[in-house]
């Protein structure tokens, strides 16, 4: 009976949590598929009118394209700059690493409005395009995720040992990094990338304050349309979530490929039991193994 009670309460908590999480999404979905919902429990009608209107609006498509472009460019800069930097700091400057771990948390302490104001004061009269300033600002915002994400991945694969093993086998540092380290932190990198992608894609404050009027991203577009029509704004919100889910699924699909560390990291604990193999036979060491040795090998395999 006790077990049954515990099961019911466990499920109850899960159901409440699930409802809490999904209720706003369902409500937004219902609002996005109705024309009138004011004094009733459920909407009075059902329509795709707002979605049709949304996808026929060239401004929406442009906003999505701009958001994706901005996010991809910033991500590329972050990855190209940060991955080698974190690797070098972690591998060869352990004292700097301790300092960096604290430093990269600074963006948490600075509100985006303050950051944007500071950037505007600094670069408003300069020749540096605002777009580049925005990319730089987003770059700084990604530091806590990127630094810690890459660092944890490096720690998780015992990268120092792997580097040394590769170097002992004749690899240069660059070869060891590209052939051994990068493939093995692929999973961690992609998870971090996904995290940053969703953050950049939905970024509003920096983009709006720095170049808002001239470069309408999806969040700025949402903000503008929300003031015009709530149903349409809900449709934008649903489309935005679905887009993020699709992107997440694509990245998850890529990371769960059978080959490589993505599997090994999760399955390492399922190591097979030690198999006791008889000691090596000197006969085996001779170039031409006799049939006797071959048959012994067969027996060994069967055992």
């Amino acid at each position: 009976m006790k077990i049954k009670k515990r099961n019911i309460s466990t499920y109850l908590i899960l159901v409440i949590f699930g409802l809490y999480m999904i209720f706003p999404f369902i409500s937004t979905g219902l609002y996005a598929t109705s024309t009138n919902w004011s004094n009733t429990l459920l909407p009075n009608d059902f329509t795709f009118q707002w979605f049709i209107e949304l996808f026929q609006d060239s401004n929406f498509i442009s906003a999505v394209t701009r958001s994706i472009t901005l996010t991809l460019i910033t991500l590329a800069v972050v990855l190209v700059v940060m991955v080698p930097t974190v690797f070098i700091v972690y591998m060869y400057f352990p004292k700097v690493d301790n300092f960096m771990k604290g430093l990269v948390l600074m963006p948490y302490a600075i509100p985006a409005v303050i950051l944007a104001t500071g950037l505007l004061r600094m670069y408003s009269g300069s020749a540096i395009p605002k777009y580049a300033v925005l990319v730089g600002g987003l770059f700084v915002g990604s530091l806590p995720f990127m630094y810690q994400g890459v660092r944890n991945s490096l720690e998780g694969i015992h990268s120092r040992n792997l580097m040394q093993a590769a170097e002992m086998l004749g690899a240069s540092k660059l070869q060891a990094f590209l052939k051994v380290i990068v493939p093995n932190i692929k999973l961690g990198l992609l998870i971090t990338t996904l995290l940053i992608f969703s953050g950049f894609f939905g970024e509003f404050v920096l983009t709006n304050l720095l170049i808002g009027g001239r470069y309408e991203t999806i969040r700025i577009y949402m903000m503008r349309r929300m003031n015009e029509n709530g149903h349409l704004a809900s449709a934008v919100m649903v489309a935005y979530f679905l887009l993020l889910i699709v992107i997440s699924l694509v990245i998850t699909r890529i990371t769960s490929s059978k080959k490589g560390v993505s599997n090994s990291l999760f399955k390492r604990k399922k190591r097979k039991q030690e198999q006791v193999i008889p000691p090596l036979s000197l006969k085996q060491l001779e170039p031409a193994a006799t049939s006797e040795v071959k048959s012994n090998n067969e027996k060994r395999r069967k055992l």
Partner: protein, 338 residues
Amino acid sequence: MSFISVENLSLSFGNHEVLKDISFQIEEGELITLLGPSGCGKSTLLRVIAGLEVFQEGNLFLEEDDISNTLPRDRNVGMVFQNYALFPNMTIFENIAFGLTLKKLPKDEIHREVMRVVRLVNLEDKIDHYPHQLSGGQQQRTSLARSLVTKPKVLLLDEPLSALDAKIRKQLQVDIRELQKTLGITMIFVTHDQEEAMILSDRVFVMSEGKIVQSATPADLYAQPKNQFVASFIGNYNILSTDDLNKIDPAFSDQSLVSKYAIRSESIQLAAPSGETGIYFNGKIENYTVLGSTIRCLYDVNDVKLSVDLINNVQNLESIKSQTQLFIDRNDIIAIDQ
């Protein structure tokens, strides 16, 4: 000149001196063990030879070439790590082929060479597996094969068996020794296990606090420990002062200047062999532990505690408990440095 020659090598990490004026020679085809407790510098010395640590003073020669400033990848030295360091993203075949791939050898030659070493370590049926799909012993065999395939001049092994269970460890000890003898490769093996060092080595270098305190064959090392540290690290020695020996044998006198003596616990016998000359004395057994083939007894001899290893003859267990007369051959009392 010897195959490997280390001259007056010193290394410090900040103010901490890790290796202190180390010199030794190793001949081609030898298997040397660096033996010592944790923190004595044995792994650091191995890493220096590999080129993974930079030393401040001294010289390092391999086949008469000064490799003190040579990059690890250019030394043609192989290394097997304690935690295997296999590349998780590569299959066993790819792991072993890694070094040959970097040399850009033809594919069929890489395949031939990989399969040659795979057969040596009995992993023919595992070449398509990933490291996480193998047991610890199999992973270490892969690591060994990966190092051997590039035909290094020297193979360095940094406590390669310490993460394995006792049964697999003993089996791999035999395998490594057999491989070394067959291939004639020079190996330097790091361990803190004196039994492992005895089984594997042509010579053992015992290290303490950044210095090599004694280098000898396993038999010589066991029979003639140079000082108290080596005696206490190798086997189960009784370390006694002159006063202690006088309590056991009032007639004992030694003209040498040493003040410490080592007596192997198995050299103390129960029944006095008839006609032999030596020290006869009485002791009271305080406790004993059955270790398998031997029984380790602790005797009290005039307030001197003596550890005595006796053959475990079950029929004689009762007589061991009651026997009080002990015997030491004078030749088994070894004078050692403090």
